[in-house]
């Protein structure tokens, strides 16, 4: 450390000094032995049990999807005037879950939040899996998914093109772009890690697979230079994208004339809700990963605490959005909008409205206390509450708005069927199956990125520490 830096360091009050990002002594070598060794070992019994449970859920979901396709979507509860129900709720819910991953991997990267390095890989993986879950629902909702390629503009013998003024077509582009960009971002980060795995494995089969996947990466400085630039650019692009994707999803609602949907607050409100729900899911999974894979020294309690602070902040933002929704309804002096809002808190589904508000606004306020932010019990409790609350928020937005709109003669109470619940369960099964498989075969922590932020990882002569 150069003398100026030392003087500067001593002048900084303790509360401003960033605490260490890892606990105990972690070296690049020990990091590899800890993280990259997982795929080389037999997983513990709990992993198999977990996989059995999630794959059962997935099997239930996919058989019910098969039943739906064979019979028709009349097996769901959707009926006039509630034509969008569980399918679109689940779609919006899962796309939202994905947003936390991109936020952690891209936005926090641009802000140089170095604590993100340890959790970025897992969060990105969750993004990809969540978008895969989300993609299923519009696909099966069209009823004949084998014709879903009609959504894309391609020259065809019917000489017909899609309507580019439809938000549903924007959605197709937004979700497919989001998936491609997330996958690209994830894979680029994986390449150096897979190269590390390639060079430490002794199995010929693994070596062949890792060699192919790492594309012959050998860590040349001239390659790192382009790699870092690409990573930075991708982070910038993904940042714009993550803000746009849920905005476009919200356009599906906001550009319609249904009272309760036609609001300008929808895009920012959807994005905030997405990040909120996604962080809750990341906290939940991270607690399990941290305990189950013995990564306490890398994913420290501080990581969880910081994420819980983000959840608290987002919860306050959601509270503001809910209040603004009420204010807009009141200030518009529009009786339909007024009715739509009163329906949320006192209609047939008033319980869902209050469940949403309690789970999303009241329960997360526990995180004002450091004790709750650092206790597994409370953080899991809040994370589950937020996940439930955010699912019900989409239920409220979609079902409550649709079941009573302009024409009282068309009003009807919506009731989901068991098939609806089964497919929802199946999407959770798919998500956690993919998470478990990922934890088994790929490095769950971006070892290359964590190596770069370990103490003494960077040369001190060039004024290390600045990043």
């Amino acid at each position: 450390m150069n003398p100026e830096a030392a003087i500067l360091r001593s002048a900084i009050p303790d509360c401003l000094v960033e605490p260490p990002l890892t606990e105990g002594r972690v070296t690049p070598g020990s990091l590899d032995d800890q993280v990259l060794a997982f795929p080389e070992r037999r997983p513990p019994a709990q992993w198999y049990i977990g996989l059995a449970v999630t794959m059962t859920a997935m099997a239930i979901g996919f058989s019910l999807i098969g039943y739906t396709l064979a019979t028709g979507i009349g097996v769901w509860g959707n009926t006039s005037p509630v034509f969008w129900a569980f399918d679109i709720i689940n779609f919006v819910f899962w796309v939202g879950i994905g947003h936390a991953g991109t936020l952690i991997s891209a936005i926090l990267f641009l802000f140089r939040k170095r604590w993100r390095n340890a959790i970025a890989r897992f969060a990105e993986a969750m993004t990809i899996f969540a978008v895969m879950c989300a993609g299923i629902f519009p696909l099966i909702h069209v009823g004949r998914p084998w014709l879903a390629f009609w959504l894309f503009p391609y020259p065809n013998q019917r000489a017909v093109w899609p309507n580019f003024r439809s938000p549903l077509v924007w959605d197709v582009f937004a979700i497919s772009t989001y998936f491609s960009v997330s996958a690209m971002f994830w894979y680029l980060g994986l390449i150096p890690d897979i190269a590390s795995m390639r060079d430490r494995t002794s199995s010929r089969f693994r070596k062949a697979v890792y060699t192919a996947l790492s594309l012959g990466w050998h860590g040349a400085a001239s390659h790192w230079r382009h790699f870092e630039k690409a990573y930075l650019l991708l982070a910038g692009l993904a940042t714009g994208l993550v803000l746009s994707v849920h905005s476009v999803v919200s356009f599906d609602f906001a550009t319609s004339v249904v009272p309760g949907w036609h609001m300008t607050i929808f895009p920012p409100y959807f994005v905030a809700g997405a990040i909120f729900a996604g962080f809750a899911m990341v906290v939940m999974v991270m607690v399990v990963v941290r305990e189950g894979m013995q990564l306490k020294n890398l994913i420290t309690l501080r990581h969880l605490e910081v994420m819980n602070k983000v959840i608290l902040g987002m919860s306050c933002l959601m509270g503001y959005s809910y209040l603004m929704e009420g204010f807009t309804a009141w200030y518009s002096m529009n009786e339909y909008l007024h009715h739509a809002f009163m329906n949320i808190i006192s209609g047939t589904y008033g319980w869902a409205g209050w469940l949403t508000i309690s789970c999303n606004i009241f329960v997360p306020q526990l995180f004002w206390f450091k004790k709750c932010r650092t206790s597994y019990f409370w953080m899991i409790l809040v994370a589950i509450a937020v996940t439930v609350g955010m699912w019900f928020e989409r239920f409220v937005i979609i079902v409550v708005s649709l079941h009573q709109d302009y024409l009282p003669s068309a009003w009807r109470v919506y009731t989901p069927t068991l098939v609806d619940f089964g497919i929802l369960l199946g999407s959770f099964g798919l998500f956690f199956t993919l998470v478990l498989l990922f934890a088994r075969v790929l490095p769950v922590i971006a070892t290359t990125e964590v190596k770069g932020i370990l103490p003494d990882a960077q040369p001190s002569r060039t004024g290390g520490g600045h990043e």
Binding site: P155, R165, A174, P192, G216, G219, A230, E449, D456
Partner: protein
């Protein structure tokens, strides 16, 4: 030295040691310097004399190309090739194209950043690089740092290079042979394949467009439409006067109608309309009048028809007192024989239609000169 040397490689334990060694080794000017590290090292680009990555510019250009591609594509589809009006918007309403323009911009930029970095700048995948086969690679991707002096045109002297690295503090020296350049799955191969697929997509897209939009209107396909025939209202060289449609032969009468038994309008004045005044007859009269008469005499029979202005003709105003006083028979005679510039309609209107038109003309006249009695609800017919 039988085999040409690609590089001499020395291993260092810390990033600090590597960074200290670079300037001293570089000063010897033995060859091109390259470092192999487990993670990116700050400041190493400047130390090795590497230029800034051009990726930013490439991504900017491709992002702009993406935005323009999306705009052009959406505009061409929505306003040119398949214009449909939705929501009352003009076909080229570009505001609605912005979300997809944004997504395509990000998509182009992302793939340029990712694949451009891998395939174009780093020339990956490449599995024949000598470092991959070296003993040092296990350390390089784990926790140690390698500095390599690589052959730069003239033959590299491995001994001198090894000494230079050892002097700089390298713990382990390794001499690497030339790269294995057998035809692996290389970046060039992948780029050529991707280029081929892209070209195939463009060609098949253009072919599809040609097959769907252009081929059906090309000569052999349009012969069904363009067969020689006479079209009404069109010029045609088949007849001497150049008209596709000919006037009927003089004296032609419509079917089901009898011969005209009267010679002069005065004689015709005595004829009596044989038809009853029923709703059906009036409907028939209106239909025939609208088809045959209204174009000149006007829908109200007041002589202001749509052809009047165009031809400067002065068709009779049937609402005039003169025609109100006409007996039914004289109107019938004018329909059958024609009058002044008005041609005979004997060939077009059957006997029933002629008399129905007479009734209808009477109804028009009465409607325009209605008395107070006519205004009463349920009044006389």
């Amino acid at each position: 030295m039988s085999e040409p040397t690609f590089a001499v490689l020395g291993l260092f334990d810390t990033a600090d040691a590597l960074m200290t060694a670079i300037p001293t080794v570089r000063a010897r000017r033995l060859g091109r310097l390259e470092a192999y590290t487990p993670y990116p090292i700050h400041g190493i680009d400047a130390a090795l004399g590497l230029r800034r990555s051009p990726l930013g510019g490439m991504v900017l250009v491709m992002g702009i190309v993406g935005a323009l591609t999306a705009l052009a594509f959406e505009y061409w589809i929505s306003a040119v090739d398949y214009p449909i009006v939705t929501g009352g918007k003009p076909p080229g309403s570009w505001e609605a194209f912005v979300p997809i323009m944004f997504e395509v911009t990000v998509l182009f930029a992302t793939f340029t950043a990712g694949l451009g970095m891998l395939l174009l700048l780093n020339k990956l995948p490449f599995f024949g690089h000598p470092v991959l086969a070296s003993k040092a690679i296990r350390d390089i991707t784990r926790d140690r740092f390698a500095l390599a002096i690589e052959s730069d045109g003239p033959q590299l002297d491995p001994d001198a290079a090894g000494r230079a690295l050892a002097d700089a503090g390298a713990a382990q020296i390794e001499v690497l042979p030339e790269a294995d350049r057998r035809p692996f799955l290389t970046s060039d191969y992948i780029l050529r394949t991707l280029g081929g697929i892209a070209a195939a997509c463009v060609v098949s897209g253009l072919l599809m467009y040609w097959a769907v939009k252009l081929f059906p209107v090309l000569p052999p396909m349009v012969h069904m439409l363009e067969q020689p025939r006479l079209n009404p209202q069109r010029a045609d060289s088949f007849f001497r006067d150049g008209h596709g449609m000919q006037m009927p032969v003089a004296g032609t009468v419509a079917r089901e109608s009898g011969l005209i038994g009267v010679a002069t309008p005065e004689e015709a004045a005595a004829l009596v309309n044989p038809l009853p005044r029923t709703r059906e007859i009036f409907a028939l009269g209106r239909e025939s009048f609208t088809r045959r008469c209204a174009v000149c005499h006007g829908a109200l029979g007041n002589g202001v028809g749509s052809l009047t202005a165009a031809y400067g003709a002065k068709p009779a105003n049937l609402q005039a007192q003169q025609f109100q006083d006409y007996p039914d028979g004289k109107i019938y005679w004018a329909i059958v024989m024609g009058k002044n510039a008005m041609p005979s309609h004997a060939a077009d209107l059957s006997e029933t239609q002629r008399w129905a038109v007479v009734h209808y003309v009477r109804a028009l006249q009465r409607a325009q000169h209605a008395s107070d009695e006519d205004m009463k609800p349920g009044g006389q017919r």
